[in-house]
Each structure stands twice: as C-alpha cells, then as structure tokens.
Symmetry: C2
Subunit: 197 residues, 2 copies
C-alpha cells in the first residue's frame, strides 16, 4: 500500500463516515472514529461521558470564541486543552501502530508532513444532506437545516481553533469529493485506489 | 460513458491543463481550452488578438472591480460583456456537439444543472507550482510567486464576476485534486474512472 493512513474529514450528513467504513473494510485496516473518544478518556483520565460531550461539543452556543473563555488552571490550560493534548497523543499513537483510517479530529493537521498519509474531505450540498440525515436519523423537533448548520459550525469551530486553518478549505486536502453527485461506491473506489497507489 | 462533459478548473501551474489533455486522449474526446478563444472571436466578430487579450486579462491591475468601470454602450454593455455572451454561446454549442473536456472559462457554472457533467478543480501549494512553472516556462524577471498570484487573481476575478461564486470553493466541484501530493497519473485515472462511471 502506497499510503498508510487515511485522514478523512466530512460535513455532517455527507456520508463521510459510511465511506470511511467501506474503505477500511476494503483495505482491511482499522477505522478510528468514536473509538478515539474512549482512548482519549483513558489517556486523559477524564470521564468517558465528559470527553464524549466535549467531542460532540453539545454545549449550546458553542463557537470558536467560547474556547478562549472557558475556565483555565494556573498553567493557563482548560479541561478542553488537556483533553485535546490527550487526543493528540492518542492519534500519534494510532498512526504509529500501522495503516488505518482516522475520521475527523484534526488528524489531517496533526499528521501533516508525513509522506504516507492521504487527506480527504467529503462534502455535499444542503439538499442532499438534509434528505440523508432525515432518512438515517429520523425527524426531530429541530429542522434538518438547523441540525446540519449547528453540527458543521461545531466541527468548524473546533477544527479552526485547534489548527488555525479553515475547515473545508480545499488546499488542506489531497482529494475532496462531493457525495451529492458521486455515488458512495465511486468515492470509495477513488480513495481505495489512491491509498493503494 | 456515464458522464459526457468534463469541466476542469485549475490554479495556474498546478498541471491541470496536462491532466485535461491526458483525460481527453484516454477517453478519445475533444479538448477545448485555447480553441474556445478562436471560436469566441469568430462568434463575436471581434479580432482574435483582442479576444485573446481579454481571455488572458493581461491588462495591468486587472481586478474584479475593473469589470464594472470599463466603457459601456447605450445598452449598458461593455466589449467584455459581448465577448462573454459570445463565449457562452460557444460553450453551449460545444456541449451540444457531444462528449468533451472544457478547461476553465466558467464552464462548470454555465453547464450547471446538466446531469451529464463532471466538475473538477486542480490545485497545488505555491512551492509545487513555483517549481513547475519555472521548469516549464523558464525564469522571467517577475518572481514565480508573483506570476502565480497575478494569474490566479485574474482567473478568480473573471470567474467571480461572471458567476457570482467563489473561485476554487470546493462546493462548486464534484472532485478537487491536489497535484502536489497526487501524481498526474493518479489524477487522470480518478477523472477517467469518474467519467466512465
């Protein structure tokens, strides 16, 4: 395999997670998505539930600015910072263990400079993603458009705060794929071929 | 062939033109790049040299704003506008003739909504593109970085003025590829596979 580690970022509802699963199955390499949360909880010593909540950034009104105003200890570090440090160690550790697929969590940024990674971003327009999240996760009291916007906003806020980059900016990625116009199978094939080289 | 028309946008020096040529050869379909200028000159009735200069936007300081202040006739139209109208007709005509590759010229925007197009954007970081333009076009008095920036600026200005979209924004494209990390062969294969479906 030419490239060892796939770092896959995605807009909520774009189908990025399904593509990551299919790629990991076809290549026979482990997938890390929610598993990273468990590892980060163990590494940081914080409760799994708390780390999960931080990962989802479910706090209302969560935005890039909020990161700057959360409580800090005498080293100037917030709990978010300690969890982030632990997550970085987890991701570096995973990358050392061998070929794998890592979904989100700024892995494309953390592993930048390695010549054995492939960075991919999966996106689609609102219409496609609205339809998809309703099909998969059902209706909720909150409209699909708001659910998408909120989730993307949180991912963007975290990514941009931690990396200093713009989330979903094409120059950060080797390949960007639009699932509104390309089928899941096409996306998987493109990524698998690029990983094999 | 699942998709009939490839609309390929590219940053200057990214190798997008070479990729377009290889794709057109492998698929056995015509490529339209500079040919569009000749057709536009014929269609508009303006001199080829003038249309060429407009296409290159070689006027110094050329920017998006300038478009608004060029001379206009009693219909409120500038020569740029008439050439643009002619170019649109040329591109619609080309698209009607059958499968093809169209490089740049806002074709992704003009042909939007057709279900038989593939839109691709080819990009690379400054280091890669600087090296490439010096290898291919030689040194000039102007530094490679300035040459790249100026050319991208002109392409961006024209695209954004004519389409109202952001140039190089990933949501405009089905596939974005980074030639600094993917080989030309890899890019060609990805596009050819996506065209064949």
């Amino acid at each position: 395999m030419k490239r060892q580690i796939l770092c896959l970022g995605r807009q909520f509802g774009s189908g990025g997670h399904s593509i990551a699963v299919a790629v990991s199955e076809q290549l026979g390499i482990p997938l890390y998505d929610k598993e990273i949360i468990k590892k980060t909880a163990a590494e940081s010593g914080y409760d799994l539930e708390y780390v999960q909540a931080m990962d989802d950034m479910e706090a209302p009104g969560r935005s890039k600015l909020i990161f700057k105003f959360v409580g800090r200890d005498n080293k100037g570090k917030s709990i978010d910072d300690y969890i982030w440090d632990a997550q970085k160690r987890v991701i570096y550790g995973i990358a050392e263990e061998g070929p794998c697929v890592i979904v989100g969590r700024c892995a494309d940024y953390l592993l930048e400079g390695r010549d054995d990674i492939l960075t991919v971003f999966i996106h689609a327009d609102f219409d496609f993603r609205e339809k998809r999240i309703v099909e998969r996760y059902g209706e909720t009291e909150v409209s699909p458009r708001v659910r998408l916007t909120e989730k993307d906003k949180r991912r963007r806020a975290k990514y941009e705060y931690r990396t200093g980059r713009t989330w979903g900016e094409l120059s950060n990625y080797d390949i960007c794929l639009n699932t509104a116009t390309l089928s899941e199978e096409e996306c998987v094939k493109i990524i698998v071929d690029a990983m094999r080289g």
